[in-house]
Symmetry: D2
Subunit: 309 residues, 4 copies
């Protein structure tokens, strides 16, 4: 199977993976994980919510943690302008998906909707901004997480997801096939390998979100931090390199509620249309490079609150 | 002076800084500099030309070195599709600039034209591709240069350049003012701080092109390499960090003919429209962080062959 | 059990772990492993032997590989002067161990003997010297192994070994106990945690030798190299950190014949007598930090040719 | 001039550079410099004194800062045992230097004396111990300074110092000559290039003390920290590599009172007697590798309080 690489030019412009909204059982335990260990900073907080951003991010939040039964609420994506948002709403409505305009703190006008996999989505064109801490060495700590990069969703509807996201202008960078079926698709808007990935499992559920960190040594340092706090059980897989889609060095961590976060120090750029999507046939490649991925990395995923699966 | 941040939506889609075409006096000396020391690889060569790419690049070349009197021939930029190329040609023609379709080896259909500063430009939508060596650790050597990132042009026409590139969809990320005049503009298409920079000096001339390297230690290692070869005179400035536009850690090197190349390990992303361009007022910021930029870094630039200035 | 920390002042001065003499089945396969991947350099070679040193070493060799049935021949240690060598010979003879003066290429006068565990030992005061490549960035490649640091021997005679090596001026830095028995002793002469380690297993056999590398990223890079050559099966354990004796970040590799080599980027200094040896009670500490050591790391060891066990 | 390399075996055993006692004008400013920026930790403090140690050190202090007129009080060295201390006292007394036994908090019995250059010295065999923080990733911050490594003294009595320290068992690792005169000697006890260095200038005065840091990136990070605090003026020289004695990557910083501290990530080992000391003829080598040392690095030194020069 060699997938085509259509260049769609939809009327609207989705720009990037933006933020994740999740529910966690204990905000202080989550703050310790995401801020002290991963290195995110608090943009705002109230008694039930933490709004977090990476050291490089000017946007108000890339991770929203709400106190509640552990689950994922929504995947957030950005469009470029308010006009894009209206055109996108029409597109989803025309495709038969429910749409709703909602008020979300610290964000501009926000659209709620759902994709073919059933993933609860949230789109906005703007957020409040906060100072980038990119060069503020005093703010660096823990893994020094810089910015949200991508999400991975598991769903049996991989092919439908590919087609639907292609139609919204997402381009396929890499994919995995297995005995003629499509197992994984890596889709991007911002010019690196992925903003959103769909993998073939019962779903929709979230496999992980990923933050970029500055350098390889930050992956090792944060592992040391977990061990020093007797939390090494939360270090799930890595540091190693994927000799599989993305080819990034990686580290997968589990937060106190089991939400999985990938940290990685590097990605390649993919912008030009003449680049063919890279096909991988499973099994036979080395997802963990020199280490074998643990079963729980393959199998554990987090339900969306809305769908409960 | 606070510059506006218009969101232009031109009919065509310029995607990124693509490649540089330069003339060098000795291809073997240049090969040693760019390949052995910086870490680029040769995609093709003949008796008068080297086509080089970074370890991460799938495009055939990001640097073309031709034997000749040292000078820069052209700045290369990419558009997304062949249709974009036609629309762009019409745009330049309508603006009163000469345009020409040319055949360039290893590139798709190519447009030659000029911008208001007089910079010789070259646009194409496609190139031949070569294997990405991103994860090919065996191919890593020298500074392990990954991919071309941006150019800096000096010209007295900074404001005209800003307006013209804004009109082509470039967005301003950062800028420098001095006593009410506009000194530097950092313009981008690919979502990081810059694809092309214009700085106020007699021109048009090229200040530098920049390649991304993986990590900070690669900057230090390549300096060691230069010293070991008694070429430390080619290490011009750094390693240090710009506490100035871009905020990147950097190293500036001079090739055997004096062409300047910046290596840097990191950049921030800038994609959203609510981010205001960052203004810097000169003097008063720390262009070299903890070190003072040498005069030659400020003053030496390379002529374009076409204009001879 | 709290072990005492006697300060012995023997008449002779053993200074450090010096070199390892091993037999390998295929010199070219071993050269690729030790030179291309680990980064050692060849000081000399003939049809049946490779003499290798680390990038930092001025001594002629820290690893001697001889073509033959895979096994370890000898552990090499250094004394400071020729006089020390004579005094040491008398010491071993008085203790009832066989001693022999042998001629070894590229070494000064050399003493062969055996310790209570049955480890075949080799002592010399001098070697030929070669240029240190410590600052020769051009010579850096692979994991950039710098210098031999220590050996680990398995033997049921841990306590006897401790007493015997204490008597030769070795100091105990750390040790492991288990239900009242002594499981491991880390003994040093050169002021860092270990020159030689004895661990409780059937023996004498060699568990590993260890080379220091410059920095953490070298551990990750060499793993990438193994994967790129489809040799990831030789990456046995790590990169991670021992939260166990030594506390070093580590990577354990297996050469083509199964000889195990540890690479590590850092160690602490331990020189003063008021520092108590550190006791670890097994099980209950984290030998692999955030990863569990694989069984083969615990169990596989290499026989000495002489004893054949 | 080729210097001989005598192997002296004095009756006593000096083991290493131990600690520095300095006077600073503002303890809080010094705490910010040494603890927040360099990464040392406070072992003890009172209203007039800070006792600091590196993250790796088990000894109570390697730097003692006393409130007072900025100056250096003493260079601290270690001997192995109390018996060594008595033998050393006799040695200094026999050589005609004043000796005194003093009580120093947190140290064992302490000897005060002076060397031929007039350097105020302090020797002890033991100190109180504190937990090593080597693997306590939570304690890592700033440059993560690990341990004191060496001192550099300026004095016109370079040759006398070499002879005197040789007689105490110090070995010469590297030296600098200039037109037949001896300019610098690098002397060591602990097996790396230097515990104490003497350089030819008016003296005795202290040029710098040096701390080891884990890796190259720590040098760059601490420079960023200085700039972020508008203290970049305290970054004097580096990061770069000495292509001069020691061959280490380095960074020289000035504390708030002008005391100079070198940070470096690596050193080679030098233990064997067959290694000839390395001779460098000045000028003509590259003390800063690819950068030229600033005049103040050559010329500024700190007086000893006792001698007041």
């Amino acid at each position: 199977m060699q997938l085509p690489t259509p260049v769609y030019k939809p009327a609207f412009n989705i720009t990037r993976a933006s933020h994740l909204v999740s529910r966690v059982s204990d905000l202080e335990a989550s703050r310790a994980f995401y801020c002290e260990l991963l290195g995110l900073v608090v943009s705002d907080e109230d008694s039930s919510t933490l709004w977090l951003r990476g050291l490089e991010e000017a946007c108000h939040h890339s991770l929203v943690l709400k106190k509640g039964e552990p689950a994922v609420e929504r995947i957030g994506l950005r469009v470029l302008t308010e006009e894009d948002l209206d055109l996108l709403e029409a597109h989803f409505r025309a495709a038969g998906f429910p749409t709703a305009w909602v008020e979300i703190p610290h964000q501009g006008r926000t659209l709620h909707t759902t994709d073919p996999a059933g993933t609860p989505l949230e789109f906005c064109a703007t957020m409040e901004t906060r100072p980038r801490l990119f060069a503020q060495a005093d703010a660096y700590h823990g893994a020094c997480a810089l910015r949200l990069d991508h999400f991975q969703i598991v769903t049996p509807k991989v092919r439908e997801s590919l087609d639907f996201y292609n139609g919204m202008g997402f381009r396929l960078s890499e994919y995995v096939t297995k005995d003629g079926s499509l197992e994984m698709v890596f889709l991007q808007r911002k010019g690196n390998p992925h903003d959103i990935v769909f993998a073939n499992r019962e779903g929709p559920r979230l496999h992980h979100c990923a933050y970029q960190v500055p350098e390889t040594h930050h992956l090792m340092h944060v592992c040391d931090l977990f061990v020093c706090r007797d939390q090494e059980g939360q270090v799930e897989f890595g540091p190693a390199r994927h000799f599989s889609p993305g080819l990034a060095r990686f580290l997968y961590l589990r937060d106190p509620d089991g939400h999985r976060v990938e940290l990685f120090p590097s990605h390649y750029h993919t912008i030009d249309i003449e680049e063919e999507p890279v096909r991988w046939e499973a099994p036979g490649f080395k997802a963990g490079g020199w280490i074998v991925p643990p079963d729980r990395w393959w199998n554990d995923t987090m339900a969306f609150a809305e769908t409960g699966r």
